[in-house]
Amino acid sequence: MKMLVIFEKSERLRHIGHLDLMRAMQRALRRSGLPIAFSQGFNPHVLLNFAAPLSVGMPGKREIMEVPLSKGVCEGDFKKMLSAALPKDLPCIAVRSVDDRHPAPMASLTAATYSVQFESLPENFSETLHRFMAQTEIPAIRKTKTGMKPCDIRPMIHETLLEGNTLYMTLSLCEKATCKPDLFLQSLFEFAGQERPAALITRLQLLGGEAPGFMPLEML
């Protein structure tokens, strides 16, 4: 049996790296007294899988990890016990138990929604964004495992919405096609010919399924 855990990495902890976050979660699970599973070998560690690592500097509102269990636990008990063991800046929002054959969250992940809170925005930014999104092709250089590769990021940008100084967007996030928010913003402000203002980027939600029918990943 496995438990899907939806948790928040709060703003205070945004500078924590992925490995540090993983260690923090492993220790929380050890504190919780839950029937967790360990890896084999000389340095056994708590088994868990994250849906997608968060970049250093980025908070996450609904992050997902999968925790294999050695014994069955009901969702209510699990949430209660884990919550008691988590620091306040890393709260557990919800849990869902799934059976062992349930695909790993990382395998079902296709996209994510982000918010970008700008300190300030240039005038007519809304119109710039509109023109940017009206393009049929957006050439960019994407960093991949095999090096820097030119590609078209337009198909990886699914939705944008501007509310005041905050930009919301849904971007592809899977092994084959990932458009990081940073790359999106870089292309956008290059297109606008403007300097990119300081901003806090937050990952709001991890998604599965296909556009336009994206679903929250934890519901798949």
Binding site: R12, L13, H15, I16, G17, D20, L21, R23, A24, Q26, R27, A28, L29, R30, R31, S32, G33, F38, F42, N43, P44, H45, G57, A85, L86, P87, K88, D89, A198
Partner: protein
């Protein structure tokens, strides 16, 4: 007295600046706090607020047990709160100064100068410039004389407080000895003084009456023409002529943390620590801790198991380290280890044992502790020949070492670290050659095993630090080797250790020389520290930041000679700057031990009978009443 009231955390602008700084610096996770078990208390309800300052970076600070003990102890009080403040790394310190962000606490981000009490722990002489840097970043004037009636009261404690004089110009009050009890009394006095609106001087005068507290402004030092101390006397009736160190009598009853902050980012020692014992009876003559932390006090098994359970539950750590100066001397060590291993096998918690002496590494302990996880093995013969080991009263033999490494190799270890010191009193080239010989014999011990037990091959790392004479040791009068001599010896040692499977690491001799100057320094050294800091010295313990030339310049500007402090053998008649402190161990005993060292005569472990070190006068030592085991020489126990 002008205590800041109702001041809140960093203001909005400072906080926004801080967020920006965190995006620019290396390892920003060192500055965020919010760890599991970090204590965030209500400032409005605290009658005394204490900033626990560690004068080094977060990753070192968070590895320190003393901070965890006192942090927990203060936060247990309903009327007080304690928050942590660490030395920022150089990049962060520079940016904070540039962008006007004051040094702040990890918990609530209050600026340093908002606290009632600022307490530094003094673990290492070469962190002293960091204290000035932290005060300055915290917007507090560094010299005590410039803080006549202003907030906070700056206090300090820890092993280096046993010679407080180099920091006397900056610190308002020192706590000498174990902190557990005196900390409460100090907080009470300051809390009450604050309530009653007393002047800072009145608070300090009250503090001076607390046993174990030294208030430097209440004492005057005078010097002879040759630079030595001529007199050191109180200038106020509140100040005692002799400051007695504090001793916690019953360690089992003493406060100990049941939960400790668990850092997010990796630190030097990222594990829970169980202090099983305080003090050491071995009497190694170079070892300051061995003299300062006397008498030996063990925590009871019941208390240790209770603490271990609580710590394991509250931290989720995967490693537990048993801490003391000489863990093998703990009476119930085998029972404790097997009980801990039993309890935590299921939970995959490993138990590690640093500070084991070569002569009591029990094979069983080695095997037990590596059932879950294999950790590195470090042994400290300290010197290369039996003669020199007798001089320093190390009390281990070559046979001990070879037996210990053979046991370790047979249990599956294939790399060992050997710690040595160079520049010990009476050292000759023969002693350095002895280090080379020992390394060779250790390698040979590995290949003496049957072939099928050889793993990838053996690696012996020999590390040689430069001996620094310390106060309250029998070598407190000794001269340190000059830098030139050290360099010659290092070159020789490099030759002797040019061997297969042997690796040699040596220490920065310039740093050790300055460490010696400060360790046995007087009040005037304070100005050198200040001048060095003004010249840009900070984080001196970090190779990349250490600026030797600037330190020499500072000495010159203050018209002081490092050789006077480091290279001079002091006569017994000389008044030592730390002599007004009663550390329990008497000066007579130290003299006697120094004379025995010159004759390479050993002094047995006082568990087998009191050697009369001086502690007996306080009736705090369990071993005094024990009948001495007559006719049992020190080394014999090793062969038992």
């Amino acid at each position: 007295m002008n205590f800041c009231k109702g001041v809140n955390r960093l203001n909005k602008q400072e906080l926004m600046q801080l967020e920006k700084l965190l995006e620019q610096v290396q390892k920003p996770a060192r500055y965020i706090g919010g760890e599991m078990n970090a204590v965030e208390k209500d400032w409005d309800k605290a009658e005394a607020t204490f900033a626990f300052c560690f004068p080094d970076t977060y990753d070192i600070a968070m590895s320190h047990l003393g901070m965890k003990i006192l942090y927990h102890l203060i936060n247990e009080r309903e009327d007080a709160l304690c928050e942590r403040i660490c030395m920022p790394a150089a990049d962060m310190a520079d940016l904070m100064r540039e962008k006007n962000v004051p040094l702040f606490s990890l918990e609530s981000r209050h600026a340093l100068n908002h606290f009632d009490i600022v307490g530094f722990t003094l673990q290492y002489e070469m962190s002293f410039t960091n204290i000035l840097e932290m005060l300055d970043l915290g917007r507090i004037p560094v010299y005590a004389k410039d803080r006549q009636d202003i907030f906070p009261i700056i206090v300090a404690g820890g092993p280096c407080a046993f010679n407080p004089e180099p920091l006397a110009p900056f610190i308002d009050a020192f706590m000498i000895g174990d902190g557990e009890e005196v900390m409460h009394e100090l907080i009470d006095v300051i809390r009450d003084g604050k309530k009653q609106g007393l002047s800072k001087m009145d608070i300090l005068r009250t503090l001076a009456k607390v046993e174990g507290v030294y208030v430097p402004v209440l004492y005057d030092a005078a010097y002879n023409e040759d630079g030595t101390l001529s007199s050191f006397t109180p200038n106020d009736t509140a100040a005692p002529a002799v400051v007695k160190k504090r001793v916690v009598k019953d360690l089992s009853a003493a406060s100990y943390p049941t939960s400790i902050p668990v850092p997010y980012t990796e630190i030097v020692h990222d594990r829970m620590v169980l202090e099983i014992m305080r003090g050491c009876t071995r009497g190694c003559r170079f070892c300051q801790a061995g003299m300062l932390y006397r008498p030996v006090r063990e925590r009871s098994m019941d208390r240790l198991l209770e603490l271990a359970d609580a710590l394991q539950k509250s931290t989720g750590y995967e490693e537990m380290s048993l801490s003391s100066l000489s863990s093998g001397d703990f009476t119930c060590l085998p029972q404790l280890i097997s009980e801990l291993m039993n309890r935590y096998k299921e939970k995959r918690v490993s138990v590690s044992l640093p500070s084991m002496r070569i002569d009591n590494i029990v094979k069983q302990s080695l095997e037990e502790t590596q059932k879950v996880k294999k950790s590195g093995l470090t042994l400290a013969p300290e010197a290369g020949t039996q003669r020199l080991r007798d001089v320093i009263n190390k009390g281990v033999t070559e046979e001990d070492l070879i037996r210990a490494v053979t046991d370790a190799f047979e249990s599956g270890w294939s790399s060992v670290k050997l710690y040595f010191m160079m520049g010990l009193p009476t050292e000759t080239d023969e002693d350095l050659q002895g280090i080379g010989d020992l390394a060779r014999k250790v390698v040979r011990a590995y290949y003496a095993m049957p072939k099928e037990k050889w793993a990838k091959g053996v690696m012996v790392t020999c590390s040689a630090s430069v001996f620094v004479p310390k106060p309250f040791t029998p070598f407190q009068w000794a001269a340190q080797d000059t830098i030139e001599t050290v360099h010659e010896k290092q070159a020789a040692l490099r030759q002797y250790l040019k061997q297969k499977c042997v690796n040699f690491k040596w220490h920065e001799s310039h740093l050790s020389m300055l460490e010696a100057c400060i360790a046995r320094g007087d009040r005037r050294i304070g100005d050198v520290i200040y001048t060095a800091w003004k010249l840009g010295c900070r984080l001196d313990g970090w190779n990349e930041h250490f600026k030797y030339e600037k330190w020499l310049e500072a000495f010159e500007k203050c018209h002081l000679d490092p050789a006077f402090y480091a290279y001079r053998e002091r006569p017994y008649e000389e008044l030592l700057p730390w002599q007004f402190i009663d550390a329990g161990v008497s000066q007579e005993y130290l003299k006697k031990e120094n004379e025995k060292a010159k004759a390479a005569a050993i002094t047995p472990d006082c568990r087998h009978g009191c050697n009369g070190c001086g502690l007996q006068k306080w009736h705090v030592c369990d071993f005094v009443e024990n009948p001495p085991l007559k006719g049992k020489p020190h080394r014999a126990e090793v062969f038992d």
